[in-house]
């Protein structure tokens, strides 16, 4: 007998499937559902259709449903069938909603919300909290024994869930598991793949190659960007080479839990122990013309601590960070966008520069102050960023 999914009093939006293959007797499906009076028939119909298209002809199937949505139901059925050694590698894809616009390389990436790839209940409303990106995580939040089921669930979520214009990203596992993850998710055209525990440019190149091949095979004709996560001393040492390993890399980010463990130091709220790594990463990213993104802030209850961290991180040159709870998103956005006073000043500088150009003056001045070209450049970047955040 093979099983997939979870059920129980405290489980919501998931379902548990147990499949017992047999030689004859057809499909026998037993259902217990929290929403039986409303969707019981629909679940039975869907289960039969999914199993039939997976070529499962003879089996006893027991389903305990806790109000799972259709894309979850088919993911769990498929996972259980595969675990039972049935299905012959075929898949059952839920109805596909239209893809959002392709993600521009330099899009605003202030916040990325982590969603455990094995937990259905957070998926469907994640986009409502308006992070710049959602991350369907296949790595650390997924138990090693559930990688197969999470992969199928994440694949279905990419097809069926409306993430309300957020960048749709997937954190895969490190190589070699990464290749299995990519095989399942790339056909559904995620906007970006986070590659954890990146230490060498060759890893990025291998993942990039795999993505390229899968895109070609499945006719995915839009970018799938790569965001390597540096989580070790070696990774930090190789930051620039990793950043430059592929034109599809759009930024660098850091994983501080693993990095501090690698150093053998405590991770503190002030982050002094990782200051070198973080500034080094920012520098490498900028040297390669990419975005730099910070780690996550683990204490969900401490929004003030988060605000302090994010403001510091913005001051260091990071353009965003990870979020592990929707309540963090707004705080993070506030920290990574220019203040009205900053925007005001930058607009004045840009205006003064344009005025000087029009009048053919070699020197730009604002009031009594001379303005150097790098100051103008910074002001222009700030104005561009402010425009981006205003749209978001």
């Amino acid at each position: 007998m093979a099983e997939a999914g979870r059920w129980g009093k405290d489980i919501r939006s998931d379902l548990h499937v147990a499949i017992e293959p047999r030689d004859r007797g057809g499909l026998e499906i037993a259902l217990e559902s929290r929403v039986g009076p409303y969707y019981g028939d629909s679940i039975l119909r869907q289960a039969r259709a999914v199993l039939e298209s997976l070529q499962v002809k003879h089996a006893r199937v027991a389903i305990h449903d806790e109000g799972a949505l259709p894309f979850v139901i088919s993911a769990r059925l498929e996972a259980a069938a595969k675990r039972a050694g049935l299905a012959n590698g075929s898949k059952v894809l839920p109805e596909k909603i239209p893809l959002p616009e392709p993600s521009p390389r330099d899009r605003l990436r202030r916040s990325r919300l982590y969603l455990p790839g094995s937990e259905p209940k957070y998926l469907v409303n994640a986009g409502l909290h308006a992070p710049d990106a959602i991350i369907l995580d296949l790595e650390d939040s997924v138990h090693p024994g559930e990688k197969d089921t999470a992969r199928i669930l994440v694949r279905n979520a990419l097809r069926a869930v409306d993430f309300a214009g957020c960048e749709r990203t997937v954190r895969i596992n490190p190589l070699p598991l990464a290749l299995e993850d990519l095989g399942e998710v790339i056909p559904e055209a995620p906007d970006l793949v986070l590659l954890p525990k990146a230490e060498k440019p060759e890893q990025v190149a291998e993942v990039d190659r795999a993505i390229g091949e899968l895109k070609a095979r499945h006719a995915v004709d839009r970018p799938v960007w790569i965001l390597p996560i540096l989580e070790s001393a070696l990774g930090i040492e190789n930051a620039f080479a990793i950043a430059a390993a592929s034109p599809n890399v759009v930024g660098l980010t850091i994983g501080l839990e693993d990095y501090t463990a690698d150093l053998g130091v405590m991770k503190t709220a002030e982050g002094r122990e990782s200051l070198y790594a973080r500034t080094r990463l920012v520098n490498a990213a900028k040297a390669a013309g990419l975005q730099a993104s910070d780690s996550v802030f683990a204490d969900v209850a401490d929004l003030e601590g988060l605000a302090r961290w994010a403001e510091q991180s913005s001051a260091l040159g990071f353009e965003g960070m990870g979020c592990i709870h929707p309540s963090q998103i707004r705080v993070v956005h506030r920290a990574f966008q220019p203040s009205p006073a900053e925007i005001d000043k930058a607009l004045k500088i840009v205006a003064a520069f344009e005025e000087a150009e029009r009048r053919g003056l070699g020197v730009v001045s604002l009031g009594a102050k001379m303005i150097d070209p790098p100051v103008v450049e910074r002001a222009r970047k700030l104005v561009a960023r402010a425009k981006q955040t205003a749209k978001a």
Partner: protein, 520 residues
Amino acid sequence: MTARSDFAQNALGRMVPTMVNSKPQVPYLGVGQYRPHGRKAGPPVRSSNAYPEDGDKRAPDLQTALRNCGLEDGMVISSHHHLRDGDRVALLALDAAARLGAKDLTWFPSASFPSQKGAIELMAKGVIHHIEGSLNGPLGDYCTQGKMRGLGVLRSHGGRWQAIQDGEVHIDIAIIAAPTADAFGNADGSHGKSACGSLGFALADSVYADRVIVVTDTLVPFPCIPWQIQGNNVDSVVVVDSIGDPSKIVSGTTEITRSPDRLRIAELVARFLREAGIMRNGFSFQAGAGGIALAFVDYLRRMMKEDEVKARFVRGGSTRHLVEMLQEGLTDYILDGQTFDLEGVKSIASDPRHVATSPFTSYNYHGKGNFASMVDAVVLGATEVDVRFNANVVTHSDGRLLHGIGGWQNCLAAGCTILALPSFRDRIPVIVDEVTTLTGPGELIDVVVTERGIAINPGRQDLLDAVKGSSLPIRPIQDIKKEVERICGGEPSRPKRSQRPVAVVKWVDGTVLDTVWEVR
């Protein structure tokens, strides 16, 4: 046994029985259409001088008190629900009546709670004929399965007062659990080991019942102050060891929801009030003690501080969150109907700006007005709302009784009535074509706030105009419904309805709004 065959179609198209528990009914006629006149039921204060001069009305136990009050078969026995799921008194009294051999009583609680499931046995034995009052949990199932002999009658808190005042229900003996009382019968809810705050739900019973028994576990020498219940209306006082389980009477603390989706709903409600201009100096609002409502209060409080806005009054169900607003000077008064946590109880006992109210002042639709209609905004829940903004609060979508009406119907009279709801629960969409059980007419429901957007009743052009150009996600209700049905994989099937009524839902004027049908 009630004749169960005669039905009439009411003004909202619902089939409702014309007789309920052998009494003729008026089908719902529309908001404000039924016009009562005359004095229906006068408070039966018997002229009598047969009371002890020393004021000591104590009876040794409930059985004696009930016997002294002339308990007979078929009487109506009332109780209040301020002790909520911790109440012991109602069942003690009904058990005492059973021991006296009483049969076919009508139990008329202001609400029933799951811990009172012992009433099922009393119904099975014939002691209780039927219950008129909110039914949920095991009692709700008993009723929905058609096992109760009479029809359940669901009324709002204001509707209960109206029914008593209009003579629809005559209380023979009122049982009033009192956290503090004196031997004369003066009673108070805000002090004592089982303190619950207000005793407002028992006020009508104390005035209109033929006989009144006060039951307390904290007897104080005369006078019991404040006397929320006046001893002059009381026939008998019984002292017991415990009137209830304090841990279930009030929660130690009331917690704000931590669900990001529910927090989003709460914040959208608060933003709506701010952007629609309803949150302004001197305004008033009401919100309950549910997770979304508490979070709403918290968001609104922050916005009021930012905008330096102060409310004239806040209507409770009071909690720590409202008490803090009072203490911070964000409102002049709390007008309290019931008290949900320890901070609320402490405040009502000590702060003169925290005022205990009764359904007479706050909700009774047949008094000379009630202040529910003076509240600017109210935030409520519901199990379902339909595309015409009609809402259901009493049954699950499959027709099983779930909640009492409480003050919900009465609150619809507020200037802006907002339902704050997740757009689906466990895959079950909340916005439907037609509600399973009509509890509130859509013309009184102005705004539905879900995590996926805010729907404004097209009848409220003023509200639509007020938030035009704001960044709020205002959407047609049909639009949200369609999106949710796409997510949930189509419309749910509608469980088949039986033809046998088990309860009726009364409107605030005593007319019959809808029928609850048997579910096997």
